[in-house]
Amino acid sequence: MTVTLREMGPVAQVSLRADPADAGLLARIGEALTALPPTVPNTATAATDGEGHVLWLGPDEWLVVATEDAPTEVAAAIEAAVRGAAGDAFLTAVDVSANRVGIEIAGPGAADLLASGCALDLERGLPVGGCAQTLLARANVVLWHVADDPTPVYRALVRPSFVRYLLGWLRDALEA
């Protein structure tokens, strides 16, 4: 299997909870982030800079993911922007930049490797831009299909305490 595994550096991440029925609120958040929080399950939207994304995690829960640089400052800026957009509406925003680490799984064999430990239909159930909270081996992950061109790239966002286990498991699977 031609796959490369990479543990990513710290990425600014903000957990966002808001009422999905409040279209005005979502629109204001979307304006602030330049990416509308998606209401279609297991999808992500991209910010206009192409770097930031808003991942759907649940009916009223999103994960805002930014770049690999200066996570604390970026997360604070995202939090401030979102709170500013809220006005009187109720939402919550929490800096979770250190709460999950990205493991990038890239290469033509990426989906095949993931299929050794993930029960999702990666081929038809997780197109590019799709994301899902699922189990990879025995670790809870947010599995995000980042790209397909020129080569498939998936990102597994996992709690840092599981990184060693998960990388070990994936490397072991690569030896099959």
Binding site: R17, F90, V94, V96, R100, A115, R138, W169, A176
Partner: protein, 872 residues
């Protein structure tokens, strides 16, 4: 039987590739493409097993997974010995070593290091069986829906065709089109792969299995299913015998006779049930191998003729392979046309169909006359006359066993199966099950269809535990969770303990130091100097929203809405039963924001608990919970000199007692990292819990160790943490509690509000929750200060008569330690009405002796809390 390799033929073998192997210590040769069974037959090995109870010689009966006899012990090239492997499906490999078995194998003593893995896949259509019907169904699907993903499985290593996964056996069908299958050696480095397949539609094209007609002494080596004999000729170029008798009730054997004749087998007799003929018994040579066949040419006995033969070909008809159909709760009906059970209505999933022979379309069957068993020759046979009518050869179960089962009054075929054990062996009754049902039906005077067959269950063929485990073994058995500071702990000799999935340092022994000595040293450092612990595993939950305070008031027994911003409070939470569920310190970060901590093991359950109540009972509350357990690394700096360390690390923080009192928290830059400092204590000592983003955890720890070095800062683990908290009477949820303990039982009644409602309040007012003799948390001091009571030890009254069981129990020890601070051992215990017994003695019966102890207050060290601001 005298099997030989024919000079030509065999479409599966490659005669240019000879293979050396060993059976029962004999060096033998076969060809690439052989199974172990075909190679044994080619070498004239006709006895391949002894039967499990009756010690009868047995030979190869089939050429497939239905084999009841030829199960062998195989030693793989890596030395691991695998029991009960079917020789009829085991590909011959160079250097293969196998042994015959007497009905049961031996598990390998060593670890099986072969690689097994798993694979998930999703298809629109799964076809099980790559025969003509299966391939046709696959092709039809593809042309009807070119976009459909179609997967075809076939157990045969040689199976081929578009989308065919060969050498792959479907094991089971579960709800919603979920199918498991095992693939043999998917890659050169992987011994087996367990497939998890989710299929929109399932096509069962598993074919049919020939079944025998049961006769007296019908179990001898040389007696074979008719189709198997033809398979050995055609697939492997092996002639399984020289002189054969055919016993049949259908036309599928016509082709067998043609094939065998062409291979040079002499047909000594053809016995056809449809002509009123039958085989009534067999004779053996000195080794127990088939030597002759007794034939009755007319029904009901009369004169028998005896024919010399080394091969008896038997065909009692064909059973559609309905196991998978039936597992999916598809119904079966007895089809008189084929005298067998065939699929009727599909199970609840619905999207399943059977095709070809599996559906009951048995090719070339002709007219079949049902024939299940040939009665003994005697006019009035007693029960014992049925004793060698073997039905299940692997279990040595006979028609006599069936008679006894029915004679005992059993009528359900499920009971008959369990009484006789027919169908319970590794072959799961593939050749014996339906026959047993038919014999039972005959004895009961019922139709076969009315008796039915026992429930089919997965797996269709045996599967090893190593295969089921896949790669989830050894260090990968379960995630090993580590903190960002883990490598430091390893480098500094920590002894770890498992706390759930976490690895936590238990203690940090100096070279050659015992655990007892290390823990006493660590405790002394925390009580007299400064010590440090990695508390990152603590559960942490961020609660935000204008109703956060109201929500916490409902979740905790005590009140949080009144907590001031910047302050912390210890809280206890219960489930609806009123029993303690978790505890921890929760801090107010802002008017609308709290930081909750939970026990390490309950981080996820507490979040689930909060979500459940928010989502199902109080959706109107404007508050949301977010797990931040792994956002923050937590380092506890503990001891009278901890202030000096924190002062050095956070020069911008005013840590004077007045400015930063106990049970408050402050934002701070610690060692250059933005974080929070909590002045909370799980030891009774002055202590600070430093929180920084987890990716800076190791950096913080290194800074703490450097700042504390001049003061001799001592790292400590969970064992010391336990001793320190126990000296203060702080309970550990899950150690002092077991789901039957209320906050009041723990002596925490002061933390249970009487002014508000909370989860569990009503239950705490039940009469049983108010009984004065409930078990209550107390301290326990062994009379001998060197005596360390075992945790879990039972407590009885000092005058209890230990000879009169049951001895009334007063309670049990929940925690027990040696204390450096107390200069003695001590324990915590749950004791009936314990708080009213303080000062009283109890007896602790141990193995072979009884120890005395005195009940004490739970808080044994610094009960006035004079140490929490530092050395008094």
């Amino acid at each position: 039987m005298s099997g030989v390799r024919l000079p030509a033929g065999g479409d599966r073998i490659d005669r240019s590739l000879p293979i050396a192997f060993e059976f029962d210590g004999r060096a033998l040769t076969g060809f690439a493409g052989d199974t172990l069974a075909s190679a044994l037959l080619a070498n004239g090995v006709d006895i391949v097993a002894r039967s499990i109870y009756d010690d009868r010689p047995r030979g190869v009966m089939s050429a497939g997974p239905e084999e009841p006899n030829a199960l062998v012990q195989v030693e793989r090239a890596d030395g691991v010995s695998e029991p009960m492997v079917r020789a009829t499906t085991l590909p011959l490999e160079d250097g293969l070593r196998a042994w015959s078995l007497a009905g049961k194998g031996r598990l390998a003593a060593q670890t099986d290091d072969a690689r097994f893995d798993k694979r998930y896949t999703h298809v629109e259509v799964l076809v099980i069986g790559a025969g003509a019907s299966g391939l046709a169904a696959a092709a039809a699907t593809r042309s009807a829906d070119p976009g459909a993903r179609v997967l075809v499985l076939d157990a045969d290593p040689g199976a081929a065709g578009e989308g065919v996964l060969a050498d792959t056996t479907a094991l089971g069908v579960y709800d919603h089109g979920y199918v498991t299958a095992v693939q043999r050696r998917p890659t050169p480095r992987t011994e087996g792969r367990l497939w998890h397949i989710r299929a929109g539609r399932i096509v069962i094209a598993t074919g049919a299995t020939e079944r025998p007609i049961i006769v007296a002494d019908g179990d001898r080596p040389g007696i074979m299913l008719a189709s198997a004999a033809a398979a050995y000729v055609e697939r492997y170029g092996v002639r399984p015998g020289a002189r054969a008798v055919l016993f049949t009730n259908n036309d599928t054997t016509d082709r067998v006779v043609t094939v065998l004749r062409a291979a040079g087998v002499e047909m000594a007799a053809e016995v056809d049930v449809r002509r009123g003929e039958s085989v009534v018994g067999t004779g053996a040579d000195d080794h127990g191998r088939l030597a002759s066949v007794a034939i009755a040419r007319s029904p009901g006995g009369g004169r028998h003729e005896t024919v010399d033969a080394d091969l008896l070909l038997v065909s009692g008809g064909w059973n559609p392979n309905v196991s998978l159909w039936s597992q999916a709760r598809g119904t079966l009906r007895f089809d008189e046309r084929i005298a067998a059970f065939a699929p009727d209505r599909p199970g609840p999933h619905g999207r399943m169909e059977a095709v070809g022979a599996a559906a009951g379309d048995i090719a070339d069957l002709g007219r079949i006359e049902p024939a299940w068993i040939v009665p003994p020759a005697a006019d009035d046979p007693g029960e014992d006359a049925w004793a060698t009518h073997y039905v299940d050869l692997q279990r040595d179960a006979t028609a006599r066993d069936l008679q006894r089962a029915l004679g005992a009054g059993l009528t359900s075929i499920e009971h008959v199966k369990r009484y006789t054990t027919i169908g319970t062996a590794a072959d799961q009754g593939k050749t014996s099950g339906v026959v047993a049902s038919a014999i039972a039906a005959a004895i009961l005077g019922q139709e076969v269809g009315a008796v039915g067959v026992p429930t089919y269950r997965p797996p269709v063929v045996p599967v090893s535990f190593a295969q089921l485990a896949g790669r989830d073994r050894g260090d990968l058995l379960d995630p090993i969770r580590v903190t960002p500071i883990h490598d430091w702990h390893v480098a500094h000799g920590a002894v770890f303990e498992d706390v759930g999935q976490w690895k936590r340092p238990r203690y940090f022994p100096d070279a050659g130091e015992s655990m007892e000595a290390a823990v006493l040293r660590e405790c002394a450092a925390a009580r007299t100097g400064v010590a440090v612990m990695d508390a990152t595993t603590l559960g942490k939950i961020d609660l935000q929203g204008p109703d956060a305070g109201v929500f916490l008031d409902r979740v905790y027994t005590n009140t949080f809405s009144t907590l001031k911003v910047g302050a912390c409070r210890y809280g206890v939470m219960c489930r609806v039963d009123g029993m303690v569920f978790d505890d921890g310190v929760t801090s107010r970060l802002a008017d609308d924001r709290f930081h909750m901590t939970t026990t390490t093991g309950n981080a996820a359950p507490v979040l689930d608990h909060l979500e459940e109540w928010l989502q199902t009972e109080w959706p109107a509350l404007r508050v949301r919970a977010t797990s931040v357990t792994e956002q923050w690394a937590t380092v506890a700096v503990v001891g009278p000199r901890s202030r000096e360390v924190v002062a050095a690390l956070a020069p911008g923080l005013d840590i004077s007692i007045g400015a930063f009192p106990f049970m408050t928290w402050r934002d701070a830059v610690i060692a250059g990292i933005a974080g929070r400092v909590f002045r909370i204590s799980f030891s009774g000592e002055l202590a600070y819990e430093l929180n920084v983003p987890a990716n800076h955890g190791l950096e913080l720890w290194d800074a703490v160790m450097a700042a504390g070095a001049p003061l001799g800062i001592t790292p400590y683990g969970t064992e010391t943490m336990h001793v320190l908290r126990a000296e203060k009477g702080y309970p550990i949820i899950g150690q002092e509690t077991d789901g039957t303990v209320t906050p009041q039982d723990l002596g925490l009644g002061a933390l249970v509000s009487t002014k508000k409602d909370f989860i569990g309040r009503r239950s705490q007012r039940r009469p049983d929750s108010l009984r004065p003799d409930r078990k209550q948390l107390v301290g326990l001091l062994p009379v001998d200060p060197g005596e360390l009571l075992p945790e879990g030890a039972q407590l009885v009254a000092p005058d209890a008569d230990l000879g009169r069981v049951p001895v009334p129990m007063l309670g049990h020890v929940t925690s027990s330690y040696r204390s450096a601070a107390l200069g003695r051992t001590f324990a915590l215990a749950l004791v009936k009405g314990g708080r009213d017994r303080i000062g009283e003695r109890v007896s602790v019966p141990l193995a072979g002796r009884v120890v005395e102890a005195t009940i004490a207050e739970a808080v044994l060290f610094d009960p006035e809390n004079r140490r929490r601001d530092g050395e008094p």
